[in-house]
Every structure is written in structure tokens, then in C-alpha cells.
Subunit: 251 residues, 2 copies
Amino acid sequence: MIPFPKATLPNKCSTCVLGQFCLPIGLTSDDLNKVDELVKERISLKKGERLYRHGNAMSSVYSIRFGTLKTEHVLPDGRLQIIGFHLPGEILGLDAIGEGQHQSDAVALEDSEACVIRFDEFESLARQIPVLQHQFHRILSRELTQDQRHLLSLGSLRAEERLAGFLLNLSERLAARGYVNHEFDLRMSREEIGSYLGIQIETVSRMLSRFAESGLIQIKQRHVKLIDMEGLCELAGLPKPNQPQEIKICT
Amino acid sequence: MIPFPKATLPNKCSTCVLGQFCLPIGLTSDDLNKVDELVKERISLKKGERLYRHGNAMSSVYSIRFGTLKTEHVLPDGRLQIIGFHLPGEILGLDAIGEGQHQSDAVALEDSEACVIRFDEFESLARQIPVLQHQFHRILSRELTQDQRHLLSLGSLRAEERLAGFLLNLSERLAARGYVNHEFDLRMSREEIGSYLGIQIETVSRMLSRFAESGLIQIKQRHVKLIDMEGLCELAGLPKPNQPQEIKICT
DNA sequence: CGAGCGTTTGAAATCGGTCAACAGCAGTGG
DNA sequence: CCACTGCTGTTGACCGATTTCAAACGCTCG
């Protein structure tokens, strides 16, 4: 159940299965060829290896070809906050454009590969291809929206709600990439989930057990099956089909 | 102590005092004139009025000419999360590019004014002016970085640390706009600070009192004076003031 | 001057954190 | 094949930071 196994991936954007999730959405084949020329390099990462580190000079952004990455910020005293989990087709390194230095660490959660996009060359190409320019702006904007949803979660939701939202968000993003949306493998540890959601590992574990007890999900190790999507949505405080109602809490 | 009072502001970017904080950093005067033509409209907001609402179709982004705005997300059940406080020169509405609809509400915290930037026209201009294009990317990127710092705060810091960081962040941004950086008026209520930081209003109040007791700040109503910047930085888990220092990562 | 709101302060309740023990599975090596 | 080891995840009991509830204070403005 590895997403988009390497073997099936061509080396060109023009024929990459990720086309519809990645940068070059909506380009003509002529323009696609230009993007092909832009992406001259790829980086393979073993589980645990870093794509970039906080403070590294930035010259490129990266699109994930396969695998899963996390981005995180580390505090001087060792505490760390995971900012995001990143799936194939997503662009990494965008937060480095502002200062010319990466503002976070990007670590592979499993063996992964990323396409290297030289940023100055990209900007130049984006000036020639309006669709590409706009697509890039959309990507940046969606990144903002995603972070803001995350903020909403950390600032206003209880542990239970955060976790339900997390599972649904993951499910949705996997589904968009062609997977069945109700069953998947978590690529991250309980600790990483906890860091992402601003709660402790024990709380993650307890909440997952409670969800399972309530019949909302099945979980064995890192394999999750979402059983009662509607119930999860309700729990996550999300407006789900037909019923924006009170939040039901299961004991 | 109103920032950049209306009377002092010209109607053109080319002569606006905000030049160095706003979109047109580093443009030649020729290019500046083109930006002038782009910004045909301005919107005045009374305290409490909205610049846009969640779900509104998006056609423009906005730069704040004077005043202060907040952006917030509202949950179906009424809970709300303030995403950011926005000062003159900052660009609002960027999170709407992705979906073509505003993803949050933007509300004036005091009488304010914003420049309207038609986004399609802007993209067209950005294709002609590389510096403008890059500046826009930097702005988007910094927005991401800001949100990620906020995530770090909500996910990993205790109430005390969040509040110290908040005061320092505000101070820094005001200083960048030419104010003394240790004394200013809060434009937002305790409740709004609490929402922004993911804590309750009573906690905000208690922590502020505690800071004052400890001699870190003086506070009377909404007027704050930062006394012990270094102490605040320490509390916020930040390196000392004015010393950007590298974070060393041990593997 | 009094109404109304925003803010502060105190006391009690609670959610999630911390500490601790244990279970489950993977990998290693005898 | 099984014991040993180490890591990750689970569960229980207790604790504490923050929330919640409640009441008083003090601006601001009509």
C-alpha cells in the first residue's frame, strides 16, 4: 500500500501520474515540456533523512514524487512542533522564499523522493506561463488555508475533535490521490500525531481507543479503517451532509 | 497614537509612506507608476466593519493603508478562532486565491482603510515586473512562516509563553513600521488576544497581571510598556532580542 | 451619575499532562 | 524455535495548568 510506487513513475512531469495534484495542472503539452526541463534533479530520501533543515539556504522548492514527509520546528529547549504531514504532489519549501532560508526541517517518514524545482528558474517560467503562475499562487494560498485550519484546530478544539479532524483530513487527501478514503496506513507514529495536534502521545492513544470502542473507527497498529464517517465529522465540528447539529460526545 | 493617520497618506503607492512595508518594495519609479494604476479603489472601514466574509467570492486582495484588522474563522457552534492581527502594509485576502472564495472573515479593530488590488490585473502586472512577482512570493511565504510560528505557539507553548511571544511579535512589527518598540496600545480586547492565543480571557488577564508584578511589563488598560524585553524573550522561549542566532540541530 | 461592558480576581472543577507499569511486535542471535 | 532486547503503543492513577463559574471592579459614555 505504498502510494505511487517508484516503478510506475516516469521521470517527466508531462507523463507523471501526479500531474493533476502537482504544480502543472491545466498546462498545455507544450508548456508541460518546459516544466520538464525545469525539473532536472530528484532527491531520494530514506526514512528519517532530511530534505532540508532550518537555516539552510534556499534555492529550490520540492514536489513530493512518492512517500510522506513531515515538516517541523524545533525550539531551543528541545520541544518540537510538527507543522504538517505532506503527501505526493504537495510542494515543500515554500516557507523559505521570504527569508531565503528554510524555516523548518523536512523529514521523510518513509522512503521518499522529491523533484527539485530551481526557484529562480521557476519564477522566470511562471512569468511566461500565466496558468502556471496562477497555479503556483493557488498552491501557496491553499497552504495558507491548510495552516489556518490547523490553527483553528489547535486554538479552539478539544483533543477528541482535533484527532477526528486529523483522521478526516488525512482521509480526504488520500482519497483525492485515488485511494479508498476510509482505510489507510498511518505513516506517522502516535508521538508525531500528538505533536502535530498539540496533545500528548497518551492522549492520542486513549482517544483512538475510545473512537474504536464507540465504533467510529477500527484501528490495529497503524492501520486505520474509518467506519462512521458522519460520526467523525460531527465529532470534528465539521458541517457534514444534512446536519450541522450539536456535537455528540461518546463516553 | 493612530498609525499613519489618513491625512498624511497620499493616494498613490509611489509616494505612500508604506512603500517599504507593502507590495512595491524595490520597484523602479516607472514600475511604481504601473502599480499606482492597478490600485484604483480604496475601502474605508469603521471599527467592527468587515472587509470580507467567509464564502465571499474573491476578486481582489487588499493592502492595509491604516488601521488594524483581525481575520477569524467561525465554527458552526459559535466558537471562533482569530487567525491573525494585521497592521498597515500587510496584504489581506491571500487565503482566498486557492478556492476563489474568502476562507475567513476580516474585521476592522479600529477605523481603517485598505487598498483594493484586482488580483487578475495584479498577476498580469507581476508577469511583467519580476521584482514585483518575487516580492509577492515573499509576502505569501512570510505569511506562511507567520502562521507556522503561530502553530508552534498554540501547539507547544504554555499560556505564559504564548502571551510573551505575542507581545514581542506585536512590538517587533510595530517597530518595523517606525514606532518605538517598547510601548504601544493594544487594538484588540483581552478576549481577542485569548482567541488568538487559544487561551481564555481570564488567563490572559492573569498572565498580564503576573508579568506586571514581575516587572516585565507595565500595563494600564490597553496601553502596554515592555520593560524587560530580555526577560520576555526568555519566557517566550526565544533567543535574546535583536540577535538572530542559528539553531543547531543534533542528529 | 448610573448603566453596561470589559477586565480583574478568587475559588472550584476538569481536561489533558505526567508518571509509571505493562503489553505487543520486530529484530537479533543463540 | 525461543529467549532477549528495544521500541512503540496502551492503560491506569494521580496531578496540575488552565478552564469554568462567580463576583467585584473600573472605565466609558449617554
